[in-house]
Symmetry: C2
C-alpha cells in the first residue's frame, strides 16, 4: 500500500487531469458508503459499476497514484480511503480566508462540511464599511485592506472568494499577493493573471442544475 | 445525428449512471470551449484527452444516447452541443420554487447562472415571519404554508432547497406533495421518503474543497 510519488502526466497542468481528481472524490464517497455498509474489500469492477465507469478506467485512474490493489482480490476499503485522503490532501487542516461577508459568504461560513473536512476559516473580509466589524460565526468581519497583513499573521494558506462577480478578480489578486497557495472561487467569473503557483478551483453551479434537469427530463414516467 | 431514445441501463435508477450524466456536462463545457476557440470538429480522443478519459470511455458514454459521431471524422461540435443540451433537458425553461430566504437562498437568487441556463425562480418561501413579505430580486418572500397552492398556481416544476439542514426534509416533503418533479438540495443532509418520481440532486461542496486541496498539495513547486 505505497502512496509514493506518481508520474507526471502531460494531460494536466498539475500533472493529473482535473476529471481524474474529481473521480478520486467520487471513489472516496463510494468507499466510505461501502465501509458504512460493512464491506471491507472492493474490486475495480464494483467501484466502476457504482459510478458508471469501466473497471479498466477505475484501475487506470488509481494506477496514476500508486499500486493500491491486490490482483484477484481488489482494494482494501479502509486503506484506499486513507490513501485517497492522502492524495487529495484532506488528511490535514487547512486555514482559510473568506472574501465576501455577503449572503454567500455567510451561507458558506455556516456550512458544516468545511470544518468536518478540515478546512478552518480563520478570517472573513469585506470592503463594505457597513459589514466590517460585524460578528459572524465567531469571527469579526475585517477590512479587505488588511487582508495581506492578516493572511501573513495567521499563516492562512487558502482563499475562498464569495464576493460579487465584479469584485472577484481584485480579491483573487490580493489573495495571491498575500501568499495564499489556493483559491476556491464561487463567483461566476474566470480569474486570470494569477501566479502559476496559486491553484484555483471554480464552483460551477450550472453543472448541478444540468444534473437535475437531466434526471427530471428522463425520469421513468411522467405523472 | 439522431437524438432518439436510448436504451435503459441497469446501473442507475434513472436508466443512466449519475457519473455518466456528470460527464455529459463536462463534454458540453469542453465542446463549448472548442467552439469558442474556432474548432468545428472533435474526436473522442480529443475530448477524452481534455478530461483524462480514454477515447473508448467517451464513445461508450455518448453511445448510450445515440449515434452522434462520424467514423474516422469525429463529432461535429455544434451538433453535439445541441444534442447534449437536448439530453440534459437544458434546451427549455424550468420554473423553480426556492425554499429558504436566508443567506444561501439570497445568494442563489443573485446567481447569474440560473437564468442563463433557463432556470427561472418564480417563488421564494420561508417559515420565518420576519422574512415573509420581504422583497428579494423582484420576488416577495411567501409563507411556506402557501407552498402547495403557489406551486400549483404558477405551474412550478422544480424545487431548490436552501433551508437549514434541520428544515430541509420538511421542505422536500412539502415540495413533493405539491407536485414538483425535481429537487436540488443545497442542505448538507440526505433527503428520504420522497416519491420515486421526484428526482433529487444534492450539491456536495466538500468535493470542490477536495479538488482545491489536491491542487495545492500537488502543485509543481512550493514557494
Amino acid at each position: 500500500m505505497a502512496n509514493g510519488k506518481w508520474k507526471s502526466d502531460s494531460q494536466g497542468a498539475k500533472g493529473v487531469p482535473k476529471a481524474v481528481v474529481y473521480r478520486l472524490s467520487l471513489y472516496l464517497r463510494e468507499l466510505q458508503r461501502l465501509i458504512r455498509g460493512g464491506d471491507t474489500m472492493a474490486s475495480s469492477g464494483k467501484l466502476g459499476k457504482l459510478l458508471g465507469l469501466t473497471d479498466a478506467q477505475v484501475r487506470k485512474d488509481l494506477a496514476i497514484f500508486g499500486q493500491f490493489g491486490h490482483p484477484g482480490v481488489g482494494y482494501r476499503c479502509e486503506d484506499l480511503v486513507g490513501a485517497i485522503k492522502g492524495i487529495l490532501g484532506t488528511d490535514r487542516e487547512w486555514t482559510v480566508a473568506m472574501i465576501g461577508a455577503g449572503n454567500l459568504g455567510r451561507a458558506l461560513l455556516g456550512y458544516r462540511g468545511f470544518a468536518s473536512q478540515g478546512f478552518r476559516v480563520a478570517a472573513v473580509f469585506d470592503a463594505d464599511p457597513a459589514k466590517i466589524g460585524q460578528s459572524l460565526e465567531g469571527l469579526v468581519v475585517e477590512d479587505v485592506e488588511r487582508l495581506s497583513e492578516v493572511v501573513r499573521e495567521r499563516e492562512i494558506s487558502l482563499g475562498l472568494i464569495a464576493a460579487p462577480a465584479e469584485a472577484a478578480q481584485e480579491a483573487a489578486t490580493r489573495l495571491a499577493a498575500a501568499g495564499v497557495v489556493g483559491i476556491l472561487n464561487f463567483a461566476p467569473v474566470t480569474l486570470h493573471s494569477l501566479p502559476v503557483e496559486v491553484s484555483q478551483v471554480s464552483v460551477d453551479l450550472a453543472t448541478e442544475l444540468e444534473q437535475l434537469s437531466f434526471a427530471v427530463a428522463n425520469r421513468p414516467e411522467t405523472r
